[in-house]
C-alpha cells in the first residue's frame, strides 16, 4: 500500500524529479493514467509502441509500465507483460473466486500438447524435427489444431535444401500460458544446459526415423489418381473415398 501511495495523485514524488529532471512529474502522472486507461480498456495485450504513441512526447513508456506493474503487483488485478505488449489480468491466486461455469479452455490431445511443447522449446523447428523428437509422424490436423487455436504459426523457412517451413509460437501462446517471454518457459534453461534443446543427436548415427508418407523417395514417382483407380483403390470418377 505504501508503494501504491507514492503514485497516487497529490503525493509529491521527489525521486522522480531527480531522475527525469526534464519531465514534469505531473505530466508523468498523467502519462501513467493514460497508459493505465489504454491497457485496462482492452482485453487484448496492447503494444508498448502503441502506448507510447498515445503518451505525451518524451514520456518514458517502459519506466511507466514497470512502475504500473509494481503498483498492481499486490492487487487483485495485475499488469502483465506479454512479449512487448501489456495487459491487465486477474491475479492467478484468485482463480477460485473468479471462475465461472462458462469458462472455456481448449482441450488438447496428448499428441497436440507434445507438439506444442516441442515447438515452444525448440523453435524455430521444422516438421521433420518435431517428428524426430517424438519418433512418430505428426498426424494431419494436429498442427492445424494448434494453428487454429492461434498458438502456433509459420515462422519462416530454414535456409537448408528444400527450404522447409519452420514453426514457432505466437504472442497469444505467451498470453494464454502466462509467460512474459519465451525465456520464461518452465525449465528451459535447465533443458538448454543439459543439451536437450540443441536438436543434435550427439552421434553421427541416426536411429530410424518414421517414414514420412508425404515424402517420396528419390526413385519414386507420385501416385496419381489414375494409378489408384487402376489398382482398384479408388472408384473411378474421382469420388471422395472415405
Amino acid at each position: 500500500m505504501a508503494e501504491a501511495q507514492k503514485y497516487l495523485p497529490g503525493v509529491p514524488d521527489e525521486e522522480d524529479e531527480i531522475e527525469a529532471a526534464s519531465f514534469d512529474p505531473r505530466l508523468e502522472q498523467e502519462a501513467e493514467r493514460i497508459a493505465e486507461a489504454l491497457v485496462f480498456a482492452s482485453a487484448q495485450p496492447v503494444s508498448e509502441a502503441y502506448i507510447e504513441s498515445r503518451l505525451p512526447r518524451g514520456a518514458d513508456v517502459h519506466g511507466i509500465m514497470l512502475r504500473l506493474k509494481a503498483l498492481y503487483a499486490a492487487r487483485g488485478v495485475n499488469l502483465v507483460q506479454v512479449a512487448d505488449h501489456w495487459a491487465f489480468r486477474t491475479a492467478a491466486d484468485l482463480s477460485f473466486v473468479v471462475q465461472t461455469d462458462e469458462q472455456e479452455v481448449r482441450k488438447l490431445s496428448r499428441a497436440a500438447l507434445e507438439v506444442l511443447s516441442i515447438i515452444a522449446y525448440h523453435q524455430p523447428v521444422t516438421r521433420a524435427e518435431i517428428e524426430d523428437i517424438r519418433g512418430v509422424q505428426t498426424s494431419k490436423g494436429t498442427l492445424d489444431v494448434l494453428m487454429e487455436a492461434g498458438w502456433v504459426r509459420f515462422r519462416g523457412r530454414r535456409r537448408t535444401p528444400g527450404r522447409p517451413v519452420t514453426f514457432g509460437t505466437t504472442r497469444d501462446f505467451l498470453d494464454h500460458f502466462g509467460l512474459e517471454e519465451l525465456r520464461d518457459l518452465p525449465g528451459i534453461e535447465e533443458l538448454k544446459g543439459a543439451g536437450l534443446l540443441s536438436g543434435r543427436v550427439p552421434s553421427n548415427l541416426n536411429i530410424p526415423v518414421p517414414t514420412g508418407d508425404d515424402e517420396l523417395a528419390e526413385n519414386e514417382d507420385p501416385i496419381t489418381q489414375l494409378d489408384l483407380e487402376e489398382l482398384g483403390l479408388l472408384t473411378p470418377k474421382g469420388e471422395e473415398a472415405d
Partner: protein
C-alpha cells in the same frame, strides 16, 4: 509434479504379469522404448541400453506371436535394436568404420531423454495458470486497439487455410464425374413395352437391346434388368419368351395380351 504420461501408464498395454500386448496404446516405437526404459526404474542417463534393446525385441516377438499387426516402424526399430545389440556385444574392430555400439547406444539414450524432457515440459506448461481458466481478461473491454494501418484483420493462418481449401475444392470439382448408367427395372420394362408392340416373330433379346446401349459397359445392366422385366411381362401375358438351352440367346415375341397404345402412354407418362 506428476508427469502426464505417468498418469496414463496404468492404461498402457504393457503389464508385466499379464503380458497383455496392446501396441495401439503407444505412440510409436520411441514411446514404447521410453515406457520400457521407465520400467528399469533408474535415472534415464543410467539405463542399460542393452537390456532395453532386449526388452523391446522380446516385446515385439510376443506381439508377433499372438499375431498383432505391427506397423513397419516397430519392426524397423526392432531390427535396428538387434543390430545395436550385436554392436554392443561384439568388440569393435580396429578398421571398422561407422559408429561404435556405444555411440549408437548414447544416441538412443539421448533421444529417450529428450522425449521425456519434452513430455515433462508439456505437463508443466499445461499446468500453468491459463488464460480463461485461472486468469481472466477484462470482462467488459471498452475499445479495440487498432495498431494496424490497414484496419483489416486476418492472420497468415486464415490466408493459407482459405487458399488451401479453395484450391482443393476447385481441383476436385474440375474432375468430371461420369455417371454410371444403370438400367432400372422400370426403365427396362418401358423399353421392352415400346419394342414388343410390333413383334410378331421370335426375336433375340440382345438384338433389341443393342440400339439402346450407348456403351458396351451398359450391356450387363441392360440384359439383367430387361430379362427381369421380361419375366414379369410374360406373367402378365404381354409377351412370350423362349430359350433353347443355358446361355443360348433369349427370344421374345408379342404375347396373347399385348400392350396397347393406351397402356404404353400411361407407362410413358408415369416415367416422366
Amino acid at each position: 509434479m506428476e508427469p502426464l504420461w505417468q498418469d496414463e501408464t496404468a492404461e498402457r498395454g504393457l503389464h508385466e504379469e499379464a503380458l497383455v500386448v496392446d501396441i495401439a496404446g503407444f505412440e510409436g516405437p520411441l514411446d514404447l522404448l521410453l515406457h520400457l526404459a521407465r520400467s528399469q526404474r533408474v535415472d534415464l542417463s543410467r539405463i542399460s541400453v542393452l537390456a532395453l534393446a532386449e526388452q523391446y525385441i522380446a516385446f515385439i516377438e510376443r506381439a508377433r506371436s499372438i499375431r498383432i499387426e505391427l506397423a513397419a516402424d516397430y519392426l524397423v526399430m526392432a531390427a535396428w535394436l538387434a543390430y545395436l545389440k550385436s554392436r554392443l556385444l561384439i568388440p569393435q574392430q580396429a578398421k571398422d568404420e561407422g559408429p561404435s555400439g556405444e555411440e549408437m547406444a548414447s544416441a538412443l539414450a539421448f533421444r529417450l531423454k529428450r522425449l521425456e524432457a519434452m513430455r515433462e515440459a508439456a505437463t508443466r506448461l499445461i499446468n500453468r495458470n491459463r488464460l480463461g481458466r485461472d486468469v481472466f481478461v477484462r470482462g467488459a473491454p471498452e475499445h479495440i486497439v487498432t495498431e494496424r494501418k490497414s484496419g483489416f484483420d486476418a492472420s497468415l493462418y486464415d490466408l493459407l487455410s482459405a487458399y488451401a481449401s479453395l484450391r482443393q475444392r476447385q481441383a476436385v470439382t474440375q474432375v468430371t464425374i461420369e455417371k454410371r448408367h444403370v438400367w432400372s427395372l422400370s426403365d427396362a420394362r418401358l423399353i421392352l413395352a415400346r419394342m414388343i408392340g410390333d413383334l410378331d416373330d421370335w426375336t433375340a433379346l440382345d438384338h433389341f437391346l443393342v440400339r439402346y446401349m450407348a456403351t458396351p459397359k451398359e450391356r450387363a445392366t441392360a440384359i439383367a434388368s430387361s430379362f427381369a422385366a421380361s419375366l414379369e411381362m410374360v406373367r402378365e401375358g404381354r409377351l412370350e419368351i423362349r430359350q433353347e438351352e443355358a446361355f443360348a440367346p433369349i427370344y421374345l415375341r408379342r404375347g396373347p395380351n399385348p400392350i396397347d397404345a393406351e397402356t404404353l402412354a400411361e407407362m410413358e407418362a408415369a416415367r416422366g
